[in-house]
């Protein structure tokens, strides 16, 4: 029937239009291989869905902390070195240098200030140790996070950190952070200020 063919034609045209809207306009650049994406994608979001297989405990972490020479910059007790304080020290020892504002004082130790343990995993994995970034194995990163969480009183000494348990750790500062308001074009950063 003619009307049937008409609908088919409309459907085909609509699909073509849809495909056009979604297709690249310039065609410059290429599709990365899965391997290329895997090698570069080191982002670990709060859900931890990108966390790799592996596991670690605080007892293993203290060994890694010594072997990888974390103590050289962060101090033997995780405080008082040139690099940020990692383990609270009752306010007696401060790091020598400021980095970002929060990492200098005891109250702002990463484990106490971060909302998610994934932030610690992500950062240690991408940026530590100095000059040897990218050399830590997943087990070592899990162990270091477990060590720092334990020493700051957040998890038990024998609690195993892995891709399932780590994102579930209830960080002390989880519920004390206000997100910035939704960004909108041409709106004042804070209405009524000053």
């Amino acid at each position: 029937m003619a009307w049937h063919k008409f609908f088919v034609l409309v459907a085909v045209l609509s699909l073509a239009q849809l495909a056009k809207a979604q297709s690249p306009k310039y065609g410059v650049g290429r599709t990365p291989t899965a391997e290329e994406v895997r090698a570069l994608d080191i982002s670990i979001g709060p859900d931890g869905k990108e966390l790799p297989p592996g596991h670690g405990t605080a007892a293993e972490g203290v060994k890694v902390f010594r072997e990888k020479e974390c103590v050289v910059c962060h101090g033997g007790t995780g405080s008082g070195g040139p690099a940020p304080t990692l383990i609270k020290s009752d306010g007696k020892k401060k790091s020598v240098y400021p980095c970002l504002n929060p990492c200098v004082d005891d109250a702002n130790v990463m484990a106490l200030h971060a909302q998610y343990a994934t932030t610690m995993w992500d950062y240690i994995n991408r940026a530590m140790p100095l000059n040897k970034q990218g050399t830590l194995k997943p087990d070592e990163v899990y162990s270091l996070v477990a060590f720092l969480l334990f020493k700051n009183g957040i998890i038990a000494e024998d609690q195993v950190m892995d891709a399932q348990t780590l994102p579930k750790v209830k960080m002390p500062n989880r519920d004390h952070v206000a997100p910035a308001p939704e960004w909108k074009h041409a709106e004042p950063r804070l209405a009524g200020y000053p």
């Binding site: 650049g29 990365p32 982002s43 950063r189």
Partner: protein, 417 residues
């Protein structure tokens, strides 16, 4: 008529005599000061190098300095935060060599081969894409001036100069590809709420940016002030997030991951606060202004005519107006804008003024195109219901009005001190 070779010999002989005279600290027999041409200078630089790529006059000494709290390079050889000498600035563009520097955490400035560098766009997109730098340059480009400012650009009473109080901001003319164009090429999926942008330097500095902003006016820049980006500013490509505090403007951009929520990277976590109002004031800069002349440690030679001048900028758009007070805030008069006023760019203002030789306090305040006016410290304190005393710390990115005190001898001092 002299032959070329005898002319050259004569030149060399005269030059040698002049160099000798200069070295001995005496004037030539004719009583004139030695020529100051480069060719006659004892410190004669490599002329071929100078012809290939120019340098400023050796008489111009303006330079960057480290922030007080931490030297750059530090004991590891890393660069942390370096202040631009804005007290010497003219116009609205910061020379690339004097652009302030901030790094994630403190890191090494990488030496990246642009032929090897790639940008990956992936995550919640229909078509993950990887680009070489040359491929990025094939896209339609835009050229726009934008300022950058570090969240740490906060005046303290201990600071002496405008470089110390306000030197963590600079403005360049940037050339690059709108990020929205690259994201559309990849096809952003519904449900996407943020991008994570990441650099290729040793610490792989990363930050989360709302997708609305990413699709609005962000740039993947490869040009700065008419040439390639400088390594200290992110060579070969960097992200520009106009108006957002410096940390979001990821240098050495290597990856953009489109995600469903704020990913709370190290840099994001570093700026989290318990108060939503402070969070809003932390992410976006200004409106803000500072008088660069006369400013701290400069000196007026005596009563008479001067131009008060400085820079104004806002993270929410173009600067609409600037006002000046020369009586400590009792009266405010309009300044002239001496450069075009571009969105999220430094704008140069000036105010013709005759100084009567008496001690006074001068300040500037600006209003942006949304009608938001730069607050005084008192106004900021009142908004947050805190006492306006010396301990008050304006929450978020500090954009409060800043005073210079001019003493009767013409010397200029930090008015907070």
């Amino acid at each position: 008529m002299e032959s070329k070779s005898s002319g050259r010999r004569k030149f060399l002989k005269n030059s040698a005599a002049l160099i000798g005279a200069a070295a001995a600290g005496i004037r030539p027999a004719n009583g004139r000061a030695p020529d100051t041409d480069m060719g006659n200078n004892m410190d004669m630089p490599d002329l071929e190098a100078l012809i290939a790529y120019g340098q400023r006059s050796p008489f111009v000494k303006s330079k960057r300095i480290s922030v007080m709290e931490r030297m750059s390079p530090d004991e590891f050889g890393m660069t942390f935060h370096v202040l631009s000498p804005i007290q010497d600035s003219v116009g609205m563009i910061t020379p690339s060599s004097l652009h302030y520097i901030s790094t994630h955490r403190g890191s090494y400035v990488p030496n990246i081969d642009p032929q090897e560098h790639r940008l990956l766009i992936h995550g919640m997109v229909d078509r993950p894409l990887i680009f070489s730098v040359d491929e990025i340059k094939r896209f339609p480009f835009v050229t726009r001036p934008h300022f950058l400012e570090c969240l740490g650009n906060r005046a303290k009473a201990s600071h002496k100069t405008a470089q110390e109080t306000h030197g963590l901001t600079s403005c360049s003319e940037w050339t690059g590809v709108p990020l929205s164009l690259l994201l559309k090429e990849a096809g952003v999926q519904s449900g996407a709420a943020f991008i994570v942008a990441e650099g290729a330097e040793s610490v792989k500095g990363a930050t989360s940016i709302p997708i609305g902003k990413a699709m609005d006016d962000c740039l993947v820049a490869y040009g700065q002030n008419g040439e390639a980006l400088r390594p200290q500013q992110g060579f070969p490509i960097r992200l520009l997030v106009p108006g957002f505090e410096g940390m979001h403007n990821v240098k050495y951009l290597r990856r953009i991951k489109v995600v469903e929520k704020d990913y709370m990277t190290y840099n994001d976590y570093g700026h989290i606060v318990p108060d939503a109002r402070v969070a809003a004031l932390t992410r976006i800069i200004g409106p803000k202004s500072v008088i660069t002349y006369p400013s701290g440690e400069q000196k007026l030679s005596g009563p008479g005519y001067y131009e008060i001048t400085g820079l104004a900028w806002s993270g929410s758009g173009a600067i609409r107006s600037v006002e000046i007070t020369t009586d400590g805030g009792q009266t405010w008069k309009p300044a002239e804008l001496r450069t075009p006023s571009y969105p999220m760019a430094h704008t140069r203002f000036a105010f013709p003024w005759t100084w009567d030789g008496k001690e006074c306090v001068i300040m500037s305040r600006c209003t942006d195109e949304l009608g938001t006016r730069q607050p005084t410290r008192a106004e900021s304190a009142k908004f947050f219901n805190k006492p306006d005393d010396k301990d008050f710390r304006a929450p978020g990115a500090d954009n409060t009005v800043f005073p210079w005190r001019i003493a009767a001898d013409g010397s200029v001092h930090n008015g907070m001190a």
